[in-house]
Symmetry: C2
Subunit: 410 residues, 2 copies
């Protein structure tokens, strides 16, 4: 059954050249309001009609002010119509004044749009512990025209140390209607599972109630954004929002809908691709690392081990140096905290089997080095204990990671 | 009571110029047997009489063969008389043949000393997954003369990527007798709590039963070796052994002995200093970082938070760059997994208060930078919730860490 749905998904789901404004009724843009010196620093997203919304937020106890405000707004009706994001200042560890500023940011945008305050979500990313220059943001809001779609500006305005914009879109069919899902994200450092340090925005014109949307987002986040790590640091500002405005006019989606799994697969594809773009653009990264752990008794075990491997500084530096240092991979398997039988473990680096039944195998070092010179490195671990599996993504640890973080006050 | 004992400890405990052979009846040495190209690679430690022994071992599931052999030896009588250590090869992930080699290494040394097999402990450190060149080791054993104390050779022979030897000794008085405790350690990479990736050897001429010695080692390890991290990777070969041969002729030590706490304090000082030497010599490190977390409700909370801070790549790179990036410290406090109240947290970088009640404080950046240019960086966090505290040690994350680990197959 799961198998046939996977086939179904591939029949209907199609990546398109698109962005978060590809679904019907969404517009987005960005501008420079003066928090950063030159680059765009204020992004906005707008839906023609209020949209069902679901969010996931950082687990860091020092949750930034805008996350508190956004969660309170969403709690009222589980619908929003607009999102305002600034970069360059995280509005985190800013106390009462920070909270006041986040509210002011939200209310100013709502006033200028003529919509209810709680229909606006706000978020911030950048330096921790400085007060938001709220006047600059209010001046920026005055310049926003939501009838004008600013091509790619939103994706640019939300970046910090990122080197590339991160977006994509796909279409699928539900009830014979075309449904579009678009996504944009930012994130480069302070990236670690548990709402990996990042911002993600997903839009869709699918018709779906907030409750079901939340179920879908939770499930998908645990297999995408929560499976990436850059440096093991979980930020104060992580947030992913999904907005679904219903303009595709499908029958209301819920877990009982016959095409629920197709929607879930589409949402997962968008979130997974965004997550991988973040990992690939990790600070200083030259390579994307994908670790698949299969044959586990429990999914949780597979997830923990894959995240431990992809988070190991020693594995990350070895991959930077194109060194097939399988001992470090095996070592990481052994300290993940999950109980497994070391004598059953198989490890492959790309196509090359380096460990079988816990024992090193002869392999061609030159071939391994050639494989490790690629930009995408896949590591496969099989525990040979069960059927569960998980995939995690990360990046190599390089001189540039040290350079960026030894000099940049975030 | 605890307070007065602390004073007592300082009255009696005195660091001396010494090593693991400073306690009565211990000898040690090292030689080159050919595992490494040139450097010493085989170290031995010998006690004139069988000594009470206690050990702690890695929690990594891929426990190396010599650790299995050593634990089996010790279990028989909880006494040993000799230790043999090779560097350059970890004898980890080596299966049946590895186990056979570890046994052969132990038995050969026992035979040459004319003592019972189970009076010898063995351990290995170096590359994972290659079989031990057992013939070279046996040739090396033939050259060992335990009547000849080889000054500093043992400490050298156990090193891998370490840049310095790590040893010290101290004396204290128990029952009016002078008791000496000496220590040696190695460790530079794959260093993370839970038997931090390292080897540690502590000798003493104190008279103490194995059971009490084990209690003491456990307690002390949790405040020393288990509180350091270099890169978050827990090795397959970590081990600390304490040998107590009783030649100081004090009354048998146990938790009921009036000077038990003084012994514990002496043992702790040796283990803590060795642990700090390892952290300071972390791969590529230029600075030792000490993080004290006080004011916790539970010791466990303080320990988890201090280890999270000192293990954060972003904190480590900031300190390398002498950047007073307190936001990263606060962020690490927030994701340690322990529940605390962010609005009560105080953070000091050396003498400079940077956060009070969870809010950033104005501080002089130039002074902060000057402080951060030191070789020992202290970070103080107070949670203002209780009385428990903990201290953890680590090092900065530098270009050299990346260089060493992108090129060195361990």
């Amino acid at each position: 059954m799961g198998q046939s749905l996977m086939v179904e998904k591939h029949n209907f789901t199609r990546l398109i050249e698109g962005t978060i404004t590809s679904p019907k009724g969404f517009k987005a843009g960005g501008l420079h309001c003066g928090i950063k010196k030159k680059r765009l620093d204020l992004g906005w997203l707008y839906s023609d009609v209020p949209a069902s919304v679901a969010g996931v937020y950082t687990t860091n106890l020092f949750q930034a002010a805008p996350l508190i405000v956004t969660q309170e707004s969403i709690a009222i009706e589980n619908k929003i119509q607009a999102v305002l994001v600034n970069s360059g200042n995280a509005n985190a560890c800013t106390g009462e004044e920070g909270l006041k500023n986040a509210l002011e940011m939200r209310d100013s945008f709502a006033r200028s749009l003529g919509i209810e305050h709680h229909y606006v979500a706000v978020t911030s990313t950048g330096v921790i512990g400085e007060q938001l220059p709220i006047d600059k943001i209010k001046n920026g809001i005055d310049q926003i025209d939501v009838s004008n779609n600013g091509d790619g500006q939103f994706e640019n305005a939300i970046l910090t140390t990122d080197t590339t914009v991160k977006n994509l879109a796909l279409t699928l069919e539900i009830d014979g209607k075309e449904v579009v899902i678009g996504g944009a994200a930012k994130g480069s450092g302070m990236i670690h599972p548990n709402m990996a340090t990042m911002l993600g925005f997903v839009t869709t014109d699918a018709l779906i109630e907030p409750g079901a949307l939340h179920v879908a987002l939770k499930e998908v986040t645990n297999q995408s954004f929560n499976m990436i790590t850059v440096d093991g640091d979980t930020s104060t500002n992580d947030m992913v929002l999904v907005l679904a405005n219903g303009l595709a006019e499908n029958q209301v989606l819920s877990p009982k809908h016959p095409e629920w799994k197709a929607f879930l697969a589409g949402l997962k594809m968008v979130c997974e691709e965004l997550a991988k773009m973040i990992a690939r653009d990790g600070e200083g990264a030259t390579k994307l690392i994908e670790v698949e752990v299969a044959g586990a008794l429990e999914k949780e075990t597979a997830a923990a081990i894959s995240k431990t491997i992809v988070g190991s500084s020693l594995v990350k530096t070895a991959i930077f140096g194109s060194d097939a240092n399988w001992g470090r991979i095996v070592c990481a398997v052994g300290y993940s905290g999950k109980k497994i039988d070391p004598s059953k473990v198989t490890v492959k680096i790309g196509p090359i089997t380096v460990v079988e039944n816990g024992m090193p195998q002869q392999f061609n070092e030159a071939l391994a080095k050639a494989y490790l010179d690629n930009e995408l490195i896949k590591i496969f671990v099989n525990l040979h204990e069960g059927e569960a599996k998980a995939v995690a993504w990360g990046c190599d640890l390089t001189y540039d990671y040290v350079r960026i973080n030894a000099s940049y006050r975030t």
